[in-house]
């Protein structure tokens, strides 16, 4: 069978692919994978397989139209990018917050900035000073061991090093409440 008989590319498909490549930068990852934001991990995988069957570059390996092949390649790279983000719970949560916020337009692609923010947030949570981190982590251990008074003391000590740390405050208040 020669390539011309193949059903990989017909008129409607070509129109759809070209249009998708053009508006791709306006779409979020859920739209790329044709998914609802509440999709389960199984649904995400299913959608990834479904879109792979449509846009996998191997199907268009012999396509003479270079421009169309480039469009399809760009689409498929975006499908992979979407899948990498959405299959990971932590990234997905961050991404949902990103695209639900006022900066949606600049956050459609989960990139560098988002990852650096994640790293920063994580740091903020645990602390930015060595002593603050040390007392905070000791506090967490006490908390887990239900030694709430000791936990409260450690969180308070942590706060003397980082008075502005919101997470420390929350934890201290939780510990205070639980002291009998």
């Amino acid at each position: 069978m020669s390539y011309a008989d193949s059903s990989a590319v017909d008129g409607p498909f070509e129109i759809e692919a070209v249009a998708l490549a053009q508006i791709m930068d306006e779409l979020d990852y859920f739209q790329i994978l044709k998914l609802a934001p509440v999709a389960t991990p199984a649904e995400i995988k299913l959608a990834y397989y479904r879109e792979s069957r449509i846009y996998h570059p191997d199907r268009f390996y012999r396509l003479a139209d270079g421009e169309l092949r480039d469009s399809i390649s760009r689409i498929y790279k975006r499908i992979n990018e979407a899948y990498v983000c959405l299959r990971d719970d932590i990234r997905r949560t961050k991404y949902l917050a990103d695209i639900g916020g006022p900066m949606r337009q600049s956050k459609l692609r989960f990139v560098e900035a988002s990852e650096q923010e994640m790293k920063k947030e994580k740091e903020l949570e645990v602390g930015v000073t060595p002593q603050g981190r040390k007392f905070y982590l000791a506090g967490l251990q006490d908390f887990a061991g239900q030694r709430f008074a000791a936990a409260e003391r450690n969180f308070k000590m942590a706060l003397t090093y980082e008075p502005g740390n919101a997470n420390y405050k929350t934890k201290r208040d939780e510990a205070t409440k639980l002291i009998k």
Partner: protein, 527 residues
Amino acid sequence: MDEIAIGIDLGTSYSCVSIIENGAPLVIPNALGERTHASVVSFLEDGKVLVGNGAKRNIITNAESTVYSAKRLIGRYYFSDEVRKAQAVMPYKIVEGENNSVRIQIRESLYSLPEISALVLKEMKAIVEKHVGHSVSKAVVTVPAYFNDNQRQATKDAGRIAGLEVLRILNEPTAAALSYGFGKDLSQRIAVYDLGGGTFDMSILEIGNDVFEVLSTAGDTYLGGDDFDDRIMTWLGDRFLSETGIDLRLNKYCLQMLKEAAEKAKIDVGRDGVANIHVEAICQDPSGNRLDLIATLQESEFNRMMMDLVQRTFKVCDEALQSARMAASDLDAVILVGGPTRLPIVRTSVKHYFQKDPMTGIDPDEVVAMGAALQARSLLESKGEHFLLDVTPLTLRVGTVGGYTDSMIEKNTPIPIERSKTYTTNRDAQEKVKIQVYQGESNKSAECELLGEFEFSGFRVAERGDVRIEVTFEIDPNGIVNVTAADLETGQQTTCAIRLNSGLSEKMIQAAQAKNAATVLSDGAAA
């Protein structure tokens, strides 16, 4: 005549070639009926080149002109540990080429590693051409999943030098999985345990009918059957030294005899549970008496020697399972690939680790070539019979200040994929931006493999001190890295596929193609 595409498993020790006939992959034997061929290239006195099992016999008699294990060196820098190690044990001459590259010196001629591998590929191509009766020019060539960009690019160059259009550089475990699951409508999660002559790969895949999704891959490019041989060589060498006072390893000729004996002993122990080693006249003592090497290797002794090597593979398995967020018990099947997986110690240990009998009925020496043939046909016909969703094995990084790197694309990310980073020329009148690209899992650049260095210049001289350059890193379906850069304000775009310094230029490839085409393969009769 039908256009066909071939699948080639270009191995460290052995290679194998396959095509699709009547809808199924078929391994093509050579004229002697051999189905796998030693990846050995012997340059004969008459100018012809002998490749395969015949050439392997020349390692001892024509040692300086016979190249083996070239795959261990392909895509490596001259200063790398692997090259140092090879120089100590290989009987052929390994010299430095321009820009830290490696060259093999055969008499007065210098060969790059892709040129050596291209001769193996030429033989594989010739085997198929003899079988089908016409010339073939398209191929899928497999590489270890854990190969980096330099090694993949060099393998692709080898294909081009051999006059092949390389449709795809395909990962060996993925090829094996395709061969296993093709046309079976499986819904399974599988592990491919691929222990070859020089490398170990482990890939975990999810198969959903026609979709083969690689969930993770991990590997060790310094671990393979050769290391098993090394252990036996050490054992034999030490025994001989204590019995006779002569160290066989100090003479490259004796060393080759020792290596051959070790490889044979490994195979014998695996098959019969014991190896009776007897090499006549392996060397002479100071008074001119010929000494034989005689030893008996029991399986228990052999297993003791190999246990830590086998355990090392399971560290890699742990890593792959962890990346896939799975436990060994989640797997439906385990597939063994590579000659050393025939050893009982490997099979038993694998069974113990996975708590599951590995699949039988799959030929560990042929399954990769068969998968490559299936993928070659699929690309040729583009009918979408199956879809391989593969990943990049190593984290792609860019250099930052002070010898550190930033991650750009994490390992186990599906490919093809791209990611952009914006660079700013923040000093006044800065004309150039230098970008170093690495692969590896350390944030220190010294512990990663350098893929290439670029200086983007020719952009506007920034009078206001603020030119923004967007650099896009792409990993294509071959796992090969391409880099493009664009000036965000003018839209000026320069494209350059990463060509590492020691890689071959277009001109060198063309010269090598002519040389390869003019080379006559020996049929072994003259050897």
